[in-house]
């Protein structure tokens, strides 16, 4: 095993391990076979595991996810890839009205261990219908779990945890992260996940302000922290990793130490996960420790534009986090 790899390859390794380790696991989606997936995540898996278990589908998101629900309900562990997370809108019934609710609706007597993998986010010039970050929706729905790994290792570890989870899990990968490199250790044991869904993590310690982020914004938050350090501002960064269930404890604790909070995500701000993080903090005693109004960093409140400069302006960048932190520190 190499000591570093890319986010996409880490996912590929996790998929291979899962497919090899458990007959109930299969991967299904548009162009996941010979094409290797739109972003190459399933490259080579068809050759290794065959058409049955690395299953190309027609362009029928509703049927793909619905079939995933049916298969999960009857004993399989399907991993469904939706080519861009924007197209999950075509499969909201099986995901929201079926997968998320069946366990409860059937009195706890059935499970839907389904994983939906989908690339989200902007920055590729693919415009409004191919660049959304829709995690807030899924995080609103009881019955779903929602995972957004930021690092190469987490991509691998949390995917295994997602497949092992007896509940439907929406697993959102950021397109710009696929090619990022990072430290990586593969595991052969796909039955005992090393990562746990629902654990946020302090990934940088600091004393002046807390940044909570996830997915690509975790990376940008770390970059912002480095820049801010040059200005003598000592930032703590928390990677939320899972937005449902949301592990708010570490954020509260951190705020009780730093007294200041910035939450960053790429999705638009209104009714986003950032709002949840903020609310989760100020409905606890951590409120008493807040020295300044909080700030949320998110996309400008418009659909994603095509033009590169507009897209960059809409997507929150490292500089936007830096600015937000400075404002909060000042106030």
């Amino acid at each position: 095993m190499p000591e570093t790899t890319t986010y996409a390859k880490a996912l590929n390794t996790a998929l291979a391990g899962l497919l090899a380790g458990d007959e109930r696991v299969f991967l299904m989606g548009e162009d996941v076979g010979v094409y290797g997936g739109a972003f190459g995540v399933s490259d080579g898996l068809l050759d290794r595991f065959g058409e049955d278990r690395v299953r190309d589908t027609p362009i029928s998101e509703d049927a793909i996810v619905g079939a995933g629900v049916g298969a999960a309900l009857t004993g399989m562990l399907p991993i469904v890839e939706i080519q861009f997370s924007d197209f999950v809108v075509n499969a909201m019934d099986p995901l929201i009205n079926q997968a998320a609710k069946l366990h409860f609706m059937y009195g706890g007597r059935a499970n839907v261990p389904l994983v939906i993998r989908a690339p989200g986010g902007g920055g590729t010039g693919a415009a409004a219908q191919h660049s959304q970050s829709l995690e807030a929706w899924f995080a609103h729905i009881p019955g779903l779990k929602v995972v957004l790994p930021a690092t190469v290792q987490d991509a691998h570890d949390l995917l295994i945890a997602a497949v092992r989870d007896p509940n439907p899990v929406v697993f959102l990968e950021h397109k710009l992260l696929y090619k990022t490199e990072g430290h990586f250790e593969a595991t052969d044991d796909v039955e005992n996940p090393v990562a746990k869904i629902g654990e946020s993590r302090v990934i940088r310690h600091g004393s002046d302000l807390t940044i909570a982020a996830y997915s690509i914004m975790t990376i940008r938050a770390l970059q912002a922290a480095e820049q801010l350090a040059d200005d003598g501002i000592d930032v703590e960064v928390i990677d939320l990793r899972t937005v449902r269930p949301l592990d708010i404890g570490p954020v509260r604790e951190s705020v009780m130490k730093t007294g200041r909070l910035v939450v960053a995500h790429e999705a638009p701000i209104p009714v986003g996960v950032g709002a949840e993080v903020v609310a989760g903090v100020v409905e606890s005693n951590a409120l008493d420790y807040l020295l300044a109004p909080v700030r949320r960093v998110g996309a400008m409140d418009v659909p994603m534009p095509y033009a590169k400069d507009l897209e960059q302006a809409v997507i929150p960048q490292t500089g936007d986090i830096v600015d937000a932190v400075k404002e909060v520190i000042k106030s």
Binding site: R53, G66, V69, G75, D93, M105, A110, P166
Partner: protein
């Protein structure tokens, strides 16, 4: 071997019993609702008993079904216990879903009933997925997917059947065409005028059957189930039938005439017809029929009593119950 064969005297007795069970069950539910002892809404399948039973009779134990908002008949014919169903409707802890699902969500996944569904066409892709899983597990169980004529205009209908067809999945899609989707007449909402004919679009067999004739529903289903089980792929059956009651309790029946309802009830009732043909052919005697009717009446009465006696649901363990 099917569960029972309504075209034989022994099977007929069983099928008749099941059809009466459905009718009496629905009537009991209606009465409970009218008396204010049931809340929520309800979609009764009175008049459609031959579809549920004709199809379910053709299945083997272990075969799976998915059902609809109007699912009591399918559920009973597939072998559910009336008392446990009523316990669900009466919101008892002993109900199929511990009172959490109610009429539109009765399920027994372990027993092969993947569930009623409150979403029109919502179970069609689930049925395809169950059949896919069965194939991958190397099993030969067949999945029957019940849906309504109104559901045939949902996108899920199209995607589910296309998927099942390209993968030759062992699903029999059964359209219960009761002439209306709520107030929308089937022939007004369904272009092409026939659900069965839509099978051609997917290169699979489609047949229209008299849905008020339990034997003909059974025979067609039996053949489609055989095909599916032998790996010949999915098929589509459209069973023509009629809903006597309103769509749900809020229905004022403004979209159809009383004459139309009466005609179906008086001239084509599935129970009348089945009993008539059994008597005519001499396969079953009047006494037997009377006995069945009496027994069913009693058994439903007992089921109601049993359900009422069951412990009510409790809020105690609701918290966190969304997750396994």
């Amino acid at each position: 071997m099917p569960r029972r064969d309504p075209s034989t005297p022994e099977g007929a007795v069983e099928s008749l019993r099941l059809m009466w069970t459905i009718r009496r069950f629905e009537e009991a539910v209606e009465e409970l609702f009218d008396r204010g002892q049931l809340h929520g809404t309800m979609h009764l399948s009175i008049g459609q008993e031959a579809v549920a039973e004709g199809v379910a009779a053709a299945l083997e134990t272990g075969d799976m079904i998915t059902s609809t908002h109007r699912g009591h008949g399918h559920t009973l014919a597939h072998g559910a216990d009336p008392a446990t169903m009523l316990a669900e409707l009466l919101a008892r802890e002993t109900g199929y879903c511990r009172g959490r699902g109610g009429s539109m969500h009765i399920a027994d996944v372990a027993g092969g009933n993947l569930g009623a569904n409150g979403i029109v066409a919502g179970s069609m892709t689930i049925a395809a997925g169950a059949a896919l899983a069965e194939r991958m597990k190397g099993g030969d169980r067949v999945t029957v997917c019940f849906f309504g004529d109104g559901a045939a205009n949902e996108g899920s209908f199209h995607e589910a059947i296309n998927l099942a067809a390209i993968w030759d999945l062992a699903v029999v899609f059964v359209c219960e065409n009761n002439q209306y989707g709520m107030s929308m007449a089937s022939d007004k909402g369904t272009a092409g005028g026939s659900v069965a004919k839509r099978a051609d679009a997917y290169g699979i067999p489609g047949s229209q059957v008299d849905g008020n004739d339990v034997v003909s529903v059974f025979e067609t289903t039996l053949e489609m189930v055989r095909r599916a089980r032998e790996g010949e792929g999915p098929s589509l059956i459209e069973a023509l039938t009629y809903r006597y009651r309103g769509h749900s309790k809020s229905d004022r029946n403004l979209y159809r005439t009383q004459t139309e309802i009466d005609d179906w009830r008086n001239l084509r009732d599935p129970l009348d017809r089945f009993e008539g043909s059994l008597l005519e052919s001499g396969g079953v005697e009047t006494g037997t029929i009377d006995k069945i009717r009496g027994e069913v009446r009693e058994s439903i009465r007992d089921a109601v009593t049993e359900a009422f006696a069951a412990p009510p649901t409790t809020v105690a363990d609701l918290e966190g119950a969304a997750y396994a």
